[in-house]
Symmetry: D3
Subunit: 286 residues, 6 copies
Amino acid sequence: MSEIIAALSSQFIQVSLPEPHAALVELNRKPVNAFSQEFWTELGHTFDKIGREPSIRVVVLASALPKAFTAGIDLSALATLDTYEKEPDKNALQQRDFLAAFQRSISSIERCPYPVIAAVHGVAYGLAVDIIAACDVRYAASNASFSIKEVDIGLAADIGTLARLPKLAGNLSLVHELAYTARAFGPAEALQMGMVSRVVEGGRNEVVHAALSTAKEIAQKSPIAVLGTKHLLLHARDHSVQENLDYTTVWNGVMLQTADIKESLAAVKAKRKPQYATLGKLPSKL
Amino acid sequence: MSEIIAALSSQFIQVSLPEPHAALVELNRKPVNAFSQEFWTELGHTFDKIGREPSIRVVVLASALPKAFTAGIDLSALATLDTYEKEPDKNALQQRDFLAAFQRSISSIERCPYPVIAAVHGVAYGLAVDIIAACDVRYAASNASFSIKEVDIGLAADIGTLARLPKLAGNLSLVHELAYTARAFGPAEALQMGMVSRVVEGGRNEVVHAALSTAKEIAQKSPIAVLGTKHLLLHARDHSVQENLDYTTVWNGVMLQTADIKESLAAVKAKRKPQYATLGKLPSKL
Amino acid sequence: MSEIIAALSSQFIQVSLPEPHAALVELNRKPVNAFSQEFWTELGHTFDKIGREPSIRVVVLASALPKAFTAGIDLSALATLDTYEKEPDKNALQQRDFLAAFQRSISSIERCPYPVIAAVHGVAYGLAVDIIAACDVRYAASNASFSIKEVDIGLAADIGTLARLPKLAGNLSLVHELAYTARAFGPAEALQMGMVSRVVEGGRNEVVHAALSTAKEIAQKSPIAVLGTKHLLLHARDHSVQENLDYTTVWNGVMLQTADIKESLAAVKAKRKPQYATLGKLPSKL
Amino acid sequence: MSEIIAALSSQFIQVSLPEPHAALVELNRKPVNAFSQEFWTELGHTFDKIGREPSIRVVVLASALPKAFTAGIDLSALATLDTYEKEPDKNALQQRDFLAAFQRSISSIERCPYPVIAAVHGVAYGLAVDIIAACDVRYAASNASFSIKEVDIGLAADIGTLARLPKLAGNLSLVHELAYTARAFGPAEALQMGMVSRVVEGGRNEVVHAALSTAKEIAQKSPIAVLGTKHLLLHARDHSVQENLDYTTVWNGVMLQTADIKESLAAVKAKRKPQYATLGKLPSKL
Amino acid sequence: MSEIIAALSSQFIQVSLPEPHAALVELNRKPVNAFSQEFWTELGHTFDKIGREPSIRVVVLASALPKAFTAGIDLSALATLDTYEKEPDKNALQQRDFLAAFQRSISSIERCPYPVIAAVHGVAYGLAVDIIAACDVRYAASNASFSIKEVDIGLAADIGTLARLPKLAGNLSLVHELAYTARAFGPAEALQMGMVSRVVEGGRNEVVHAALSTAKEIAQKSPIAVLGTKHLLLHARDHSVQENLDYTTVWNGVMLQTADIKESLAAVKAKRKPQYATLGKLPSKL
Amino acid sequence: MSEIIAALSSQFIQVSLPEPHAALVELNRKPVNAFSQEFWTELGHTFDKIGREPSIRVVVLASALPKAFTAGIDLSALATLDTYEKEPDKNALQQRDFLAAFQRSISSIERCPYPVIAAVHGVAYGLAVDIIAACDVRYAASNASFSIKEVDIGLAADIGTLARLPKLAGNLSLVHELAYTARAFGPAEALQMGMVSRVVEGGRNEVVHAALSTAKEIAQKSPIAVLGTKHLLLHARDHSVQENLDYTTVWNGVMLQTADIKESLAAVKAKRKPQYATLGKLPSKL
């Protein structure tokens, strides 16, 4: 088990298993987790691999560094933009491909079948918000400072912030203001906007602790039920209520045949903790 | 009139008319409104009948019991799951049908053309949230305790909670956390999430009182305007802004031909309360 | 420049440029900005013209009058409803056309490519909410009083309130209640619902001041980045996350070819304020 | 078995089982199958019951009368339109309900999980086309005469013709022309438009014979495979290709667990006809 | 009447009324109806004005010139492309506006509430196909020659051909081939593809004669029924079957209240031709 | 160049370049191109690589074998189904992943930015139709024999046939019949259904010759125009007309800035063949 987990770590990303079935993914590129193309590609690979590892049931995403979740994209990564074709049409095709691949790396968090809890502290600028928005649950340390930084470098956020915030937040007036001004905002506004659900007094350690505590709870639940819940919530976000209800009847038509229900009911009756089997190994290449 | 209303009551459901045009539907299966298939089928029939009764203009949905809105599904109802085919494919078709019928019962609340106000107190677990989510307005007593309980019995909530919460709430991080952990949460978190709009100090009586007070206000408004408002708000939830605007021009193209507008304007001019005619009787079989 | 701006003013609408690139549009029909058909048609023309004026980068929408943002539609405008065909079918076609044109006037705010900040004080009833909902950012003075007034005159709000509130707010229970009861609500409930993002202590002057201050910030950002941000946020509201991500790769495929990025990076390096070129003049007839 | 089938017949509809698992539903209201409300309600009940009868696997829909498939709606049924409210708004709500119930009756054919083959001869006017369009496969006798008759009585076809023809046919120019002119058209144009797939020389007997021959083939196939094929084809019609592909992975995720695959492969190997188990009984009330 | 019609003609477009209620719109820019920006803007204005003229009930669109329907866009119109901004981002915004306005001109045909029959002869290249695709019914003279010409000048057709052909035709393999190769094709392939529904032996006069003959038939039908039929068919093209059925119940909820139904039934009974009232005048500014 | 092309070939797939810019992809697994998982994975890789090779502009997909395009899936590949989890829920997750990966392999044809022409001869059963349906243009040799074979092995076709046929064909009655019966059908019915656009007298050589001849034509066109045409046609298939028109303005907003337009116009003026630059190299990892 520990070998499997160890194999998930890479140059800029540490993966550990602080609680049974609950993985901790830590961003670790000094000094402030600035994202190079290599780094975000690694992030995508990490979550895609985690998604195929049935011993994991929930993930906490945090930073290993004391000062920042991430300061955002490493501006030198944008330099590649200059290496493209000079003709606008061909350049546009290349940029489109580049952006699609970049988005796929970050969307790996949403694609991951297990819940991902973002534990955010310190500086969380630019790409930080794209990443956070792809998570399922968002906690902020009281020392967190966010910014939808992209307009400050002359572009509209294109890796998920603008796609996801209007769906996950509850005050679009604030979303628009923060996206237009790029000004820093703290946990209070993040909470008001509905972007985070909990502010944890303190910094990195405190917010990671809180996130792991929630992760531990989730790790003890039926994996098939939790996986289905994430899947159906994300489906609901993007479909009408009736479409989602119909889809749910097909999904649960088979998922209700799970042994986890019998185990849950038996455990209730016996007043013991349920013990769920792990999900089967998924086919090796998605 | 009172006969009509009386005829709406059934084994587990009491219907009364505490204010003109404002019905009170009370769940009443001792001791904690656990839902059997018979009970939820009754609930569906009740709201479908209410929807065809033009003397009603608004509904409050509450529990008649002191301790609980509902503790959720009666686990013995799930026993029927065992009576299905053992082959996964055929079992899935049966489950799908079972779930679709179950959903239709609960969606009767949304299908009901009149606004439905949920007045929730005490225990409100599992199916409680599916039911509440199908209502238009949600009030909680300060003693209310909610739980999206389904993962605790090994399944993803499939009767409306996951379909509707992402649309009606404003903090999806909290929605996800509560759906994954199944932990109980109180009115404060329900308010933060945007699931309820008002917390009423007290228990059953207080919250029902508050809901009836709002219902009384609504009952005095133009029925055609209120019905149209519910219809267009639900349409907006599931369509793009432009689709909804276009649809609204067709809907109001005829609804603006109502006598209620003339009556409203005349009442304003005469400084009196408007008196609106009831909606006509709908054809007997939908 | 001042000539261009002056030419944007009309009978009931004053346009000025209190900050570079930041326009102030003031509603000005005494005594309470009641909207006649002429007035709302003017509003539509104003925003469509502003949208073609590249020297403007952000707009504040406010009232020039001390007591009200707007008391809503001038009821005499509804009198035209009586001049229509008496036959329901033909009347419906006429109403549909009337409503579509009315909606297009108000949707000019959303169509405007630059962010529009609503600075609301005093009475903001009926059409006020339709107008506010079409803005990008919403501030309320502490003396503001809102009402979704339409049911009080016998109709469902049809110019944008019901279409947009379910998407921009985070507490649909409150949205429904306020739409059914037409009761007045203050800034606190507007904030709770997620309809406004800031309450400014005071009245007209204070809220306009706050809005202009935010507008000034936005006016100094890259116009191509801000315009793209508005465009993509509105697209996200009405599409699935994946649809929006895909669309963004095409949009930014060309927008990343902007000189504004180079200017932004150069300014950061040189520790100076960036100076962005204005957007080109759009073709004369949309 | 024959008792079950016999119980499906009613006043205007005969149901028989001319081939194993292949039902024949015959319209039988003299002299020309003019549809009263009672008749179309019966039709809906019939198909809903058939859909719950697992011994049936495919259906042929035909007329029992020599001259007509159906001449369309019985104009006296429209008389009820006059009994409605005189106020346009309330009248519109009643008409809407009436139409929705009418549509649900005809859509029972599409809702039926088994393929339905329309065998059309003679006069097939008005409602005939709505009915045919809800079927899966359409054969016409060479003596068939169709008409989208509705404009001739002053209305747009509202029971399915306009909803379905643009999806199932391949020449929308012809669809539009025939819907605007209400002129009669024969099998050749029906074929050109893509509305029917086969023209059978002769009349009622010949076309029913051909349809039953195809039905017999279908009845020998795996019921789970055929049911899934209908379900996925209809889903594809109304969704994007990618949505349908995704949905198919969930649907077939369980349906591939069927014993029918093993039986199919075994039969191929043994060079014998496969024998498939019937679908399980669906829960008694959908 | 004739004055109204005469007022619809303009520099490059002749409008006449060869049959009661049936207008003939003829393209007339010598020698081959090459489209300048002025010409297509005129076309848009013409159809928008026709759409507000209740005495018209159906339109035939043809060319007044002997050799061509239209040879497509006047290449000198593309010269304006060169006058745009040299920066790719700003240029893109201008092109987008230019294209949107161009599309709106051609989409006026689809927006027109009355059926439009294209009567095509001779050369019909490039923009010709965009125009034809926006019509409801398409007839071709046997001397017609079509080409989706755009790839030959280095661009993808952007004014409607690619948007509409996949929906209106029945052989997408042929649509793709013709769009990639830009080769000329005759009426036989147009028919095979499902793009036209009738080939008329001859040239301009013969095909116009045939189209007018169909138009004459349509002009005698209930205008409310025909208008609704076009509206619902176009809605069906772009929505799921169930969405369209639901929408139809709302649309016909009021349209069934038309006097045209009574007149139709009375005429049938009296064995006379029905006489329908014209649609009311629509509000003066859409 | 020839090295690049050679590198695209693999165990079961031969890639050559019989015309400049026109690739020929030949399926080559004796004796009848039965598809193992390895084979279809290779097919996916091939088309994904082709899509990144700018020297290619169009592709013909054919079989290298004399008797069959492909006889479909190698039934031994289905054996893996047995290696999955025995529990229905976990098995379903595995099957879903397996199917998603399988679909992605075949959808590589649609994902390929260049047009793909299917040249089909001989046996084309089961997976053959899924593959063909993902192509842009479909030609059949007169000796071709098709079958939607899946129901014969107990399952609904899940790799694209049911997803795409309802969109690309023009006679859904025939699509349904052939999908339910699994009977073989020849080129005539394929043509009637709208599945193929041309029947070429003969077998493999003749149909490949015809496809290459069309491919040669396409290869000489502007690559940016052809690529955009494919992209917009596929977008149109899955979106409403208005959505596609809007999207097109953004797409062409940059693509009209191509040098290919200038070259096209210059070539017309000079009466010479245009010479287009190749598309730029796409970033190395999508």
